[in-house]
Every structure is written in C-alpha cells, then in structure tokens.
C-alpha cells in the first residue's frame, strides 16, 4: 500500500497522545525536565548538596523568553526542511 508508513506513524503519534492523556488524568506529575531531576539524583547519590561550579553565561529572564528561543530554534529548522523539500519537489506534479 502506498501510505502504509504514514498510517503507522499516525498510529504511533495517536498512541503516544493517548498515553499522555491517560497519565495526566491518573495521579499527580510534575512534568519537569529530566535534567532538573538528575540534579536531585546527584544529591541523593552523593549524600551532599551539589553546588554547580559554573553558571550559564546568559539565562533567559523568564519562561516566556526561554520558549521564544526554543520556538526560534524549531522555526529555523522547519524552514530549512520545508525549503529544501520544496526545492527537490519543484517541477514534479503534486498528484503523481
């Protein structure tokens, strides 16, 4: 079948989304990042409070600004992917 792979990917995404909704509605979760959690594990493993010895040069002043930079990152990537696939498809009829 022509679109088998597309259907498989769609199914994977739906299962993932379904599992997320299920987990969200059962029990309390923080949905924090794994890097933050790793910091806690370090303290747990060594038995002391770990003090980072370096600070980031620049830290986004708020969550909104941080998400701006993350969006910018995906927008740049998506633009490049779209541009070059468009370039490759140029001259081919869409419906063939």
């Amino acid at each position: 079948m022509k679109y088998t792979l597309e259907l498989v990917v769609l199914a994977v995404l739906l299962i993932f989304a379904g599992a997320f909704v299920l987990v969200q509605n059962t029990g309390e979760h923080e949905w924090s990042g794994t890097d933050d959690q790793a910091g806690d594990v370090i303290n747990e493993m060594t038995g002391t409070e770990y003090e980072p010895w370096a600070d980031p040069l620049y830290e986004p002043p708020s969550g909104e600004i941080e998400s701006l930079f993350f969006c910018l990152q995906s927008a740049i990537g998506a633009l490049v992917i779209g541009f070059f696939f468009g370039y490759y498809y140029r001259g081919r009829r869409i419906n063939t």
Binding site: A38, I42, Q73, Y88
Partner: protein, 231 residues
C-alpha cells in the same frame, strides 16, 4: 536532556572534551571532502542539520510524568556518517548552551559525546548492519534512529554515574538511578523519533534517491525497488 552547566566536576568536563575533540576534527575533514566532491548532497546535509534543530527543541511529555526531548541525530548519521553528524550536534548544543541556558559550555564535551557521537555511531552501525543482512530499509532506519536516541541518554546516565558514584554500591547503583530518570523517560520519545525519521527517509527516496546512491547509503538495486514500490 543535556547535563546542565556546572553539573560535572571540572576534571570530567576536560575528559569528555578531549574524547569528543578528535571526532569533530575528523568530521571537519570529512565535511571538506563532501563540500568539494559531492556538492549536490549539501541540501540534504542542511535537512539533516535542521532535523537536529527541530527535534531537539521539542520538549515532549513522556508517560513517566516528566519531559525530555528527542535528538534527531539518526538521520544525519545514516546519510553522512557519525563524524559529520558530530558537527551538526555541536552547532545545536552551542545554540542551546548560549541562548537557552540548556546544557552548558562546561558540559559541552560530555553532551556532545552522548548526543553527537555515541548515538550517531550506534545509528550508523545499526543501519549498515541492517542493510547488510537485508532487513527492510524503513525498519532499519526506524531502529537506527530510535536506538540512537535512547542510547544518547543511556550514555548521559553513565557519564553522570561515573562522576557521581553512589556512596553505597558505587557506579552501578548510581547508573541505575540516573538511567531511571533519563532512559525510561526517553523510551516513548525514541519510538516517535524513529517513526518520524523513517517517514522522512521515505520522502527523500521519493525525491532524490540518486543522491542516496551516490552517498553510498543505498545500493542501486534497493533504491530502484523502493522507488517502484512507492510510485
């Protein structure tokens, strides 16, 4: 996600930097050859880099109740090999360390090793192995990309466990604890990443199978057969 700024002792930062550096240097050498001799493949290189950009910016919730992001390095590793992919990973890690305080400059070497080198090396090995034994091409791409993603975070857990062995039980106890945070969260994300990259691979075969043949990613026969199936 990456190891945060200042979260590895200086000696380990230096160690991983020294381990990663040769891969980047050899990658630059390979990149120069690619730019000179296979210029028609450069748009694909841009796409592979852009994939790392997009996928590593998406922090996704996982079934474990925490968030992480995929790596997107599998595509680059399959198309251009692990060394050039190390450079793509370096660009993304620098962007995130400088603008986002995500990862860090001191932990750059360690993060580059897990995301830009260890993962892509595994992806490359799986893809080549799968092609050799004649496994379905898309299944091979899926496995290569998904396991590269997962392996990246297994390596991250190992890096942290080496730097912070548990008081009781040492490296192994520590590794299990870090892997429980990093690798378990990553499993569903790795599956999604593998599926998305396999689909992208299909579209690349659709539009420019001849470049894949020239890069040595597909043999002539396999490329012709896949294009016929999709037409």
């Amino acid at each position: 996600m990456h190891i945060m700024e200042g979260f590895l002792p200086p000696a380990w930062c230096l160690f991983w930097l020294l381990v990663s550096a040769p891969f980047v240097i050899y990658g630059m050498y390979q990149l120069r050859i690619l730019m000179r001799e296979k210029r028609e493949a450069l748009p694909l290189l841009a796409v592979a880099g852009a994939f790392v950009f997009v996928l590593s910016s998406l922090k996704l919730p996982s079934v474990s109740g925490s968030c992480s992001h995929p790596t997107g390095t599998g595509l680059g590793a399959i198309l251009f090999g692990p060394f050039i992919t190390a450079i793509l990973g370096l660009i993304v890690l620098l962007y995130q360390a400088i603008f986002l305080a995500h990862g860090g400059l001191t932990t750059l070497g360690a993060n580059l090793f897990s995301m830009g080198i260890a993962g892509p090396l595994l992806a490359y090995a799986i893809y080549r192995g799968g092609q050799k034994v004649g496994l379905n091409t898309y299944l091979t791409v899926f496995l290569a990309a998904a396991l590269a993603d997962l392996f990246t975070y297994v390596v991250t857990a190992a890096q942290l466990a080496l730097a912070f062995p548990a008081e009781v039980g040492g490296f192994v106890t520590s590794f299990v604890a870090f892997a429980a945070v990093y690798a378990v969260t990553q499993v569903p994300l790795a599956i999604i990443e593998g599926a998305v990259i396999a689909l992208t691979f299909k579209y690349i075969i659709d539009v420019r199978a001849e470049i894949l043949v020239k890069l040595g990613v597909l043999s002539d026969g396999v490329a012709a057969r896949l294009q016929r199936v999709q037409a």
